[in-house]
Amino acid sequence: METATANKEKPTNPLTYAACVLLGFLQRIGEMFLGFFSGVGRISAFTANGVRHSFTPPFYGRHIFRQLIDIGYYSLPVVGLTALFTGMVLALQSYTGFSRFNAESAIANVVALSITRELAPVLAGLMVSGRIGASIAAEIATMRVTEQIDALVTLSTNPFKYLVAPRLIAGTLMLPVLVLVADIIGIMGGYIVSVFALDFLSETYLRQTWNFIQFMDVFSGLVKAAVFGFIVTLMGCYHGYNAGRGAQGVGAATINAVVSSSILILIFNYVLTQVFFS
């Protein structure tokens, strides 16, 4: 603040002026750091609160069920289509590459491994972030803007239990299920292209996939999915809950939810891969 007023006065001495500019610059860096850490602190506190209320009664069974259906069942078409075409394109691409050194037989392995370990969880996470993260943020932000969250409090209902916990629970439980389905559909996509377009023997392709794939490949993907499901719902709830005023606040909450959950998914994907496979 002091430097801002100093800037307005426009000191005539060039040395004082330079000092003011430098101070303003340092002040901005300081503000950014403080903003970053207070943001991390707020998200951590929100997370702890959300997790605590997910494990303590009362539980809102009807709400959890509705979220399970919304996050799981209604995301199936989007996630399924993504997985199908990813598997298909993977088979096609690896064929063009591998046929140059007669390694076509590795296609089944490449498809199975990429889908289960990486592509199914990450792409499902990103798709769900766009579909569910955005809708959670918009819904909760609208409730905040129209004072519905305050109304919940005045009716002795904890908004964390009523709004946040059911979504966190449903997201963490349903994403692994979605990813398991995506694994199967993705591998099927690779199978369809290999057998019907690249003239592989159906039996050989399936046997290769089955023999090559290991428990850990699928399991690590499902653990990632659970983490991504938590991240998406958490970011949706956090940004919605802390939305600013009016329609603009709702819009900003939605953007922040999708962007932050997408980036966190990519970061945590790397961290989890490091944990599992090194």
Binding site: T146, E147, Q148, D150, A151, V153, L155, S156, T157, N158
Partner: protein
């Protein structure tokens, strides 16, 4: 221990008391030592212009905003340091009519009205629905609206539903946030009548904030005026036309020129 001592000190009939409550957001001092008290069963209306801190004061009294300093006492108990669970219990004494209604748009009208009953008192669904319909009738709405959703109702009807929800659990203290704002004059008067009726039937203590003088005259026992985060005038409803205070006079008569400068607000 301290809370128990304070009970003895506090006058018995004071239901809700704010003592020297201050709140600021950043550099903006919104409340600057607000003190007021409401005897049991009485109605206090706080008037003031936009930006005078009325809403923040009401939210502090409700416990939705924690004040920076000062105490808020309900039945003589200081509630400012309450934990989330204690606050939940305290809220059962409160009913609140929000300015925009704040109805849950994902729930039907009767579920909105019966929300508190079903969540807290664990009233069975069928019984809760009957109570909700009865409460709707008491605010002049027929049983046919029970299964509609908030978006299907007009603003005045939403306000009535919100009132029905606020009184459904028969609270001891009811808060009204600009109950007549956004309504036509006739509907505003209907809501005023309903507020009076509800208060008389429940024997509740009420705190309202408004800038609608017609409403304030009608529903208030006492009126206080908030200006720049302070209570600058306090008196009986009948005294509002001879307040002996230039600020209150300007506000009551709705004059643009006077000591209150709206540009600064």
């Amino acid at each position: 221990m301290t809370a128990n001592l304070k009970i003895k000190k506090a006058p018995r009939n004071i239901k809700l008391a704010l003592d020297n409550v201050s709140k600021s957001f950043g550099n903006n001092q919104v409340l600057n030592g607000v003190s007021l008290s409401i005897p049991k069963g009485k109605s206090l209306v706080v008037i003031g212009g936009s930006g005078s801190g009325k809403s923040v004061m009401l939210k502090c009294a409700l416990g939705l905003i924690t004040p920076d300093s000062g105490t808020i006492k309900v039945d003589g108990m200081n509630t400012t340091g309450y934990s989330a669970d204690q606050r939940n219990e305290l809220m059962k004494k409160f009913g609140m009519l929000f300015q925009g209604g704040a109805l849950f748009d994902s729930l039907s009208i009767w579920e909105n009205v019966a929300f508190g009953l079903m969540q807290n008192n664990k009233t069975p669904k069928k019984e809760a629905r009957e109570i909700a319909i009865e409460k709707l009738r008491s605010v002049g709405l027929g049983a046919r609206v029970a299964d509609l959703y908030p978006a299907e109702l007009s603003g005045g009807m939403q306000k009535r539903v919100s009132l029905a929800r606020a009184i459904a659990a028969e609270p001891e203290i009811i808060f009204f946030d600009e109950p007549t704002t956004g309504l036509d004059p006739i509907m505003a008067d209907v809501i005023n009548d309903l507020i009076i009726k509800c208060r008389e039937e429940l024997g509740a203590t009420t705190l309202s904030i408004t800038h609608d003088m017609a409403s304030a005259r009608k529903i208030a026992d006492n009126i206080a005026m908030l200006y720049q985060g302070k209570i600058i005038w306090h008196g009986k409803a009948g005294e509002i036309d001879k307040p002996n205070n230039i600020y209150v006079e300007q506000f009551v008569h709705g004059r643009a020129d006077g000591p209150i400068n709206m540009d600064a607000a």
